[in-house]
Subunit: 554 residues, 2 copies
């Protein structure tokens, strides 16, 4: 007898649907790695599990594997040595199509129940996931625990909530009765069936494999599609654990576990392209470079393609109460996970004749120096700094730091290598702050990593215009403005609305522009070149299913 | 002082939103051309207005016109001679972009209120619209009154209801408060703004300019976009009247009337392509040929493209109670508007060894002859027949009848020309019924017009498989099955769900497969090649707007 998980999670689902509408703070999961929540031995157990994975075949049974693959390196300086089953693309497609036959019949209740059960079990495994995320992405442990765990799970629940909200508006059986004046009414019965699109492909990224992967995975699964998860070759483990849990739940619910499949592959092959162009693949969720995202939008015409790509994130400093507070907040955003976030600020616009503060005027150079000083201070103790910066995920980012320095711009704060107290071979870098002019071509492209340009402008008006144009032309996932002037705030808001980017005003303290909260903040707008969708909204889910109706005379 | 139309229509809007969820019968408009509803002199007045339009400049003031254009011919055999302002594409785009500046600020209440006021006034002008639709499309008067009037207006209200439903889930201002254990909570304020995509282009068709045009027009307008309406050169008048009314309402509401613009043009120019590829055009709604629809999907990459294209509609006869009832119903569907409907049935599958009826077995030839007889009977009185068939809109359809006859297939019922008792030059044709084999290539393409193939099959199972494959490969907007066997009905339903086409079971009496009812039947599924969207659902509206948020510390 298979299990009906919907009843177990119906209350949670209803709360989640309500939360997406009220958009106040809400989360079903604890972001705190508290032993009281996750168990007294959760951390030790998870560490042991993570260590046991290393150097072995990952315990995932997928039929049709022709070998194993896997070459993950922890950015903290060691090889994971985990081998994953490698299944040819045509086998994966055939398995997914076969699994779709029964999964599509199960209907919204079952799809949602199974999805939420998977998320619940993922939450229970948050410590294990934290180690997996830390040692593939390079995130510090706490960030890996939160962003790779509860916050990613939140985004998954949010996607299920949107899917449920849209599907539950479709009635199952309806009596239709049309009056005919003095004659008898025409009476029809109508049955409405929610049908999935087909196979959904998740193309994972190397920096936030779960946080960026779960919205698409669960939006598709909860609308009856089968899912092939193709992790980035550098960050397979977090998604392999996810797929394994998903398959366990599917089997318990009485379904073919191939409803969710892992497509592990090596960096040198064309698995991603081959999967993306397969006619049976009807939905693709992608996070990664603009080049790859644009290629998918251009070529994978048989599919609905949802992309999150690169952008140039914008900050404007106009006027502040306490500049030290502002600098501290920004420095943290620069250093957090070494700027390896799609939301990390890059261009900081400051009027060339300086800014007003509650303590008087600050010149451009004083502002620039103040930002640099805040970065130096934040990173002065390597033991504390590495918890914020984590490690560099990809050597291309180290090269990018060198390229940025080679631009010949004035260095406000140099990037320093830090020795990680725990992992001797970890690559850790502090942020690089450069001074740039507003017409410098360097500020019109993304410099992924801890690279920041402090840009002198004519005035705040020209900062706003510059930020707006950069977003329209190059895209952005975040936009942050510091001003004590309501008129400037209103202008910035209008510019944000025109450019299609969300705005954070005067962030200080413990709220950072790189972070968005599920159920309240939309991540991305889908209205500028950085992303063609937002996480999550109705548009993100409503086209993953269709409705087929049958009508007959009553 | 400008007028707030939202209050006037809020109750209607709430009823409409409820109707899209309950999907029982509902319409805010009367489909009956009753003097009690529309006024004692409504018909005479409208006829006079329609006659006054002829041979003159249409009373639509659009700045920047460089001349006039218009060469509409009534399919009932006379030239309309109406001249419309012709405005260059670049002028239209500039006007639309300028109008967007204030329209985008108005917000969901105003967008919805203005949209519903336009629809209310369109309803009051239903008789005038009926004449305009009749004498551009060739529909009989009653059909023009209903499909061009109340039913089109229903689809418009439905689109506004979906738009409102999705937009009203976005809160305007939210207090977000995240607990911090023993510390003070983090308190943020968040403002959410619904922003439009930009300019929306409606590409009208020549057969149902209002019914197929209103969903896109009102879905876009109600989500804050400006709209350029590009009518088919053969059916400008219905959309010109629509645009004129829209501009009146916009002006009364205090907006730039250029929020809605008419792009009348001649059949020989490239206005459609030039508009469709303009970077400012962010949404396109298209109804027409597969070639043009696929071209738009392929090339207008800057826009969200919603298309309704051609399909091959499918009918299966397996077993019936009363064959005469079935034949009468189908004959009406063949003849209705001479099959010039995207939903008109084309391929009728009948087992070669015949069907079961309550009165005993009928051979294939008896079924085919019975269908032909029903067509002959329905069209035997020209005066009655022309009210059903209307006139042929396009001479290409007359040619297609000749081409179909030239296929060399057995003619079951020949297409006859009928003399219209009222319009001596009208082109009126009765349906052509041909007998075809299941492997005949002719049944794999759309024969737009009154052309029907009665196709002999191995068995009902092979009819179902054939219908399913045709839908998957060539698309369909309707699928109709006659069976008294529940097992067959279930199989047909599964096939419909796999192929992504809606199913009508055992239609007899006054319900026809070519007709769908707003607020209850989805028109199209968006799940087969005939259309990439359904009229209307959440997916049809949710991506026409985006949300931009601003957050700050409370």
């Amino acid at each position: 007898m298979s299990k009906d998980f919907f009843n177990d999670h119906q209350e949670l689902l209803e709360q989640a649907v309500a939360a997406t509408a009220s958009r106040g703070y809400w989360s079903p999961f604890s972001e705190s790695p508290s032993p009281r929540v996750y168990g007294e031995t959760a951390n030790d157990d998870a560490k042991a599990v993570f260590e046991a994975y290393q150097g072995k075949d990952f315990p995932l049974q997928q039929e049709g594997a022709t070998g194993t693959v896997g070459n993950e390196q922890s950015p903290f300086g060691f090889a994971l040595g985990i081998r994953y089953p490698q299944v040819p693309v045509e086998t994966l497609i055939a398995q997914s199509e076969h699994a779709l036959e029964s999964w599509r019949e199960a209907g919204p209740r079952v799809w949602s129940g199974v999805s939420l059960e998977i998320l619940k079990r993922l939450n229970q495994r948050s410590f294990e996931m934290a180690y997996a995320v830390q040692h593939t992405t390079g995130q510090g442990f706490m960030m890996a625990f939160q962003a790779g765990g509860a916050h990613a799970q939140d985004r998954g629940v949010e996607a299920v909530a949107y899917a449920w909200q849209e599907m539950s508006r479709i009635p199952e059986l309806v009596a239709w009765e049309k009056p005919q004046g003095k004659h008898d009414p025409i009476k029809m019965q109508k049955k409405f069936t929610v049908v999935p699109r087909g196979i959904s492909l998740i193309i994972g990224c190397s920096t936030f494999p779960t946080w960026n992967g779960y919205p698409g995975l669960f939006a598709s699964l909860a609308t009856g599609n089968t899912v092939i998860v193709k992790p980035h070759p550098a960050a397979i483990l977090p998604l392999a654990i996810t797929v394994r849990i998903a398959r366990d739940v599917l089997a318990e619910a009485g379904f073919d576990p191939n409803v969710v499949l892992l497509a592990a592959h090596s960096a040198s092959d064309d698995t991603a392209q081959t999967l993306a162009l397969n006619p049976a693949v009807k939905i693709i969720d992608f996070t990664g470079s603009s080049a790859n995202g644009n290629w998918l939008e251009e070529h994978a015409r048989q599919a609905q393609v949802y992309t999150e790509k690169a952008g140039v994130n914008q900050v404007i400093i106009d006027s502040v109460d306490d500049f030290k507070n502002v600098a501290r907040n920004l420095a943290f955003s620069f250093a957090l996970y070494s700027g390896q976030m799609c939301t990390a600020p890059q261009n900081i616009y400051v009027p060339r004749d300086g800014i007003k503060t509650a303590d008087g005027h600050l010149s451009f150079d004083e502002v620039a120096a103040g930002l640099a000083e805040a970065v130096e201070k934040l990173t002065s103790d390597p033991a504390k700094a590495v918890e914020i910066t984590g490690a560099i995920q990809n050597s291309a980012t180290v090269q990018r730091l060198a390229d940025a320095k080679a631009l010949g711009l004035t260095v406000l704060a140099d990037s320093r290598s830090l020795q990680h107290p725990q992992f001797e071979n970890a690559t850790v870098q502090t942020p690089l702050l450069l001074k740039a002019n507003s017409n410098d071509p360097a500020i019109s492209r993304e410099w992924f990593g801890p690279i920041v340009f402090v840009v002198g402008t004519e005035s705040t008006d020209s900062s706003i215009e510059l930020a707006k144009q950069k977003v329209i032309e190059h895209g952005a996932l975040s936009f942050s403005v510091y001003t004590t002037d309501d008129t400037v705030a209103r202008k910035a808001q209008k510019a944000a609305e025109r450019a299609g980017v969300s705005l954070s005003l005067n962030l200080t303290g413990a709220v950072f522009v790189n972070q968005t909260a599920a159920f309240s903040d939309f991540h991305g707008t889908g209205a500028n070149p950085a992303a063609n969708a937002a996480l999550s909204d109705s548009a993100y889910v409503a086209n993953r299913f269709r409705v087929v109706q049958t009508r007959w005379h009553a």
